[in-house]
């Protein structure tokens, strides 16, 4: 066992990488839930994004195209959820599960011929002087562009919800869809857009796993990250910055346990590997007392009777 091999600077830098897929998916789901829809299909949309982003990047040789494809694929896949819940008025919990189950199957089917291939690398941010700074450089200025996109998205969603009219309408729909409808807002249309945004974000998060974090394609590689993202939205009390905090916490746990595995700590690997899930449960328990900030119409379908 050699704990001194763990470099704290690298630890923080890799923590940010580990947190990004969770953050991207959670920010998307946060917007969805703010509009009053509970989409449990995050895991499915992520893995669809992971496989389509990977395939596009490999075929085109461009990770950028891969990420664009993953966002599109996530959004298109979320349309299935739209069809079930917004058009057919099906139960949201069951529909989300359907999305996850079929997403896992579909991705395995699509990804068959991509197992064991290396994807094209995405360039890292490299600002002369800044990136070369000790400690601060690798942590703040040495990452891939998508990581910064995740941070920017967090800020954008925060600003959208807090300062803009669009954000206000989104929240109104999520709090009381009857009232929003009476005011003349298109409840279904707004929710569809929110769900598609959530799908795109989840797709990006998935592609981040297959293109940058791992980078490889294996069946079921999201391994519950989508579910952790769902838990994170609760943890964050539907607030973007707290989602960021939560994502870094979970990223931290993941990275620390991986480092401990590598350092050969006397704890069996399986117990280290289960720690992110255990922590998720513990955090959920601690924070579940406060439900006041949940959107009031969360999980309820809207049907305009007139």
């Amino acid at each position: 066992m050699d704990l001194s091999a763990i470099n704290p600077v690298l630890l923080i830098a890799s923590l940010m990488v580990a947190a990004t897929p969770i953050l991207l998916a959670a920010i998307g789901e946060l917007v969805v839930e703010k509009s009053g829809v509970l989409n449990l299909g995050v895991e499915g949309m992520m893995i669809i994004g992971a496989v389509s982003g990977f395939a596009t990047a490999v075929e085109s040789g461009s990770p950028w195209l891969g990420f664009i494809a993953s966002a599109l694929a996530g959004a298109v896949f979320s349309l299935l959820f739209v069809l079930l819940t917004q058009v057919a008025k099906a139960n949201q919990v069951a529909s989300g599960l359907a999305l996850t189950l079929s997403g896992l199957g579909l991705s395995a089917l699509l990804g068959q011929s991509y197992v064991g291939i290396k994807p094209p690398q995405m360039g890292m941010l490299d600002i002369p002087l800044l990136t070369d700074l000790p400690v601060v450089g690798p942590i703040l200025f040495g990452h891939d562009p998508i990581l910064y996109l995740g941070l920017a998205l967090t800020a954008a969603v925060w600003a959208l919800l807090k300062f803009t009219r669009a954000g206000l309408i989104l929240r109104a729909v999520g709090e009381n869809h009857e009232a929003a409808h009476a005011l003349g807002y298109k409840v279904i249309r707004i929710r569809v857009l929110a769900i598609m945004f959530g799908g795109a974000c989840a797709g990006l998060g998935g592609a981040y796993i297959s293109l940058i974090r791992v980078p490889q394609w294996t069946e079921g590689m999201t391994a519950g990250v989508g579910w952790i993202a769902l838990a994170l939205v609760v943890f964050a009390s539907w607030k973007p910055w707290r989602a960021l905090l939560g994502a870094y916490l979970f990223g931290g746990v993941t990275v620390v346990q991986l480092n401990l595995q590598a350092a050969g700590v006397a704890i069996p690997v399986e117990y280290l590997a289960m720690s992110p899930y255990v922590i998720t449960i513990v955090v959920l328990v601690i924070l579940s007392a406060d439900k006041s900030s949940a959107p009031a119409a969360l999980g309820r379908n809207f049907h305009a009777s007139r």
Binding site: L40, L80, L83, L84, V87, A88, K89, A90, N91, V93, A94, S95, L97, A98, L101, S102, G103, L104, G105, L106, A108, L109, Q112, E219, A223, G224, W227, I228, L230, A231, V234, P268, E270, Y271, A273, M274, Y277, V278, T280, I281, L284, V285, S288, A289, K291, H303, S305
Partner: protein, 360 residues
């Protein structure tokens, strides 16, 4: 213009017809999917749905139908009780694993001693293992209001790690030449869940599944608890006035579904699977969710749905070896079924009318 009108009462006729229509639609679109994959769609569908029952080697596959169907029905029956009441246990896969680990551990503790009471003890231990694993989300929900969906699902990943630990460490076969996995229970007579009638696939798990179906039917239609379950799902406010205690219902529904999933795991590990191994679980806990919905959360419906889903598993295996159909295609096929089912439910709850747009 197409308009949706909410029906005052869900249509009974559509409620019975939707699973059938969904199965037909899945066959149609599944066929399309297989055609896209370059397989003859008619042959693929025939291989999946016909050959296991009436094909040349049906004598071999028919017993498999019971072997695969029993765990699905057993788990789905438990899940349906909770789903009816709006309590979402989606971690049956974890409870299934824990039932298998705990049950097998009890059996292995007696090895090589032979006695008649070992298998019954294992059955009890398996049920308790699944029950205890389900009690975690139940207790947390009752005590702290924690979301049972997320907790039960997280526990699946934890159970999978415990399974790995069991087969690599604490239940590893000491005479296994270093290979992962426990002793094979099939060669330990007192712990072996053998076919009750040789070669039929009829093991104790099948019996348990049938008992569970009847038990659930009686509970739901003849017992106060069943009434409370249905009432809570359909009208939570009314349930409150009727004096239903939500906490008790949560503990009960999650407890029953956990115990049944644990039983399914135990019967599998002591019978068809034979040993605790890393890849012991094959997703029955998740497929059972589809089975529960396909069976309309009704015990007899679940029995039929479990049989059908077992058929797709077996047919999928045959199609995989005979036609080279990828294993994942069957997973997509099963997911599709749930999709069509949920989408078609629109017809149960709404009346679709065509009406000319009035010009104001």
């Amino acid at each position: 213009m197409i308009r949706l009108e909410k029906r005052p009462q869900p249509s009974r006729a559509w409620s019975l017809a939707t699973p059938l229509v969904a199965v037909l639609a899945t066959m149609l679109f599944g066929g399309l999917l297989f055609a896209v994959l370059g397989k003859d769609p008619v042959e693929a569908i025939r291989t999946i749905f016909w050959d296991p029952l009436f094909g040349e080697y049906a004598f071999y596959f028919r017993p498999q139908l019971l072997v695969k169907g029993a765990p699905l029905v057993l788990i789905a029956i438990g899940l349906s009780l909770g789903f009816k009441a709006g309590i979402w246990n989606i971690g049956a896969e974890g409870q299934y694993i824990m039932g298998a680990i705990v049950g097998a551990a009890v059996g292995l503790a007696f090895y090589p001693y032979e006695a008649w009471y070992i298998f019954p003890l294992m059955v009890i231990a398996g049920a308790l293992g699944g029950w205890a694993w389900a009690m975690i989300p139940a207790f947390l929900k009752v005590r702290f209001g924690t979301n049972e969906i997320l907790v039960s699902l997280m526990l699946v990943y934890i159970a999978e790690q415990l399974l790995a630990s069991a087969s690599l460490r604490f239940l590893k076969n000491p005479e296994g030449m270093g290979f992962p996995g426990s002793r094979n229970l099939q060669s330990y007579e007192s712990a072996f869940n053998a076919d009750l009638i040789e070669g039929t696939g009829m093991h104790w798990g099948v019996v348990a599944a049938l008992i569970a179906v009847i038990f659930a039917y009686v509970l739901l239609t003849r017992h106060m608890i069943g009434f409370h379950i249905r009432l809570t799902g359909e009208a939570p406010r009314a349930a409150k006035f009727a004096g239903v205690k939500p906490a008790r219902l949560i503990l009960l529904c999650l407890g029953i579904s956990g115990a049944l999933a644990g039983l399914a795991g135990l019967f599998e590990v002591s019978g068809p699977a034979g040993q605790v191994s890393i890849d012991f679980n094959v997703g029955y806990g998740f497929t059972a969710i589809i089975v529960a919905f396909l069976g309309r959360l009704h015990p007899f419906g679940i029995l039929l749905a479990g049989g059908l889903m077992a058929l797709t598993y077996i047919g999928g295996d045959i199609a995989q070896s005979n036609l080279g159909l990828p294993a994942a295609a069957i997973q997509v096929f099963q997911g599709m079924l749930l999709f069509f089912l949920l989408a078609l439910d629109l017809l149960t709850n709404f009346r679709v009318t065509l009406r000319k747009v009035e010009v104001a």
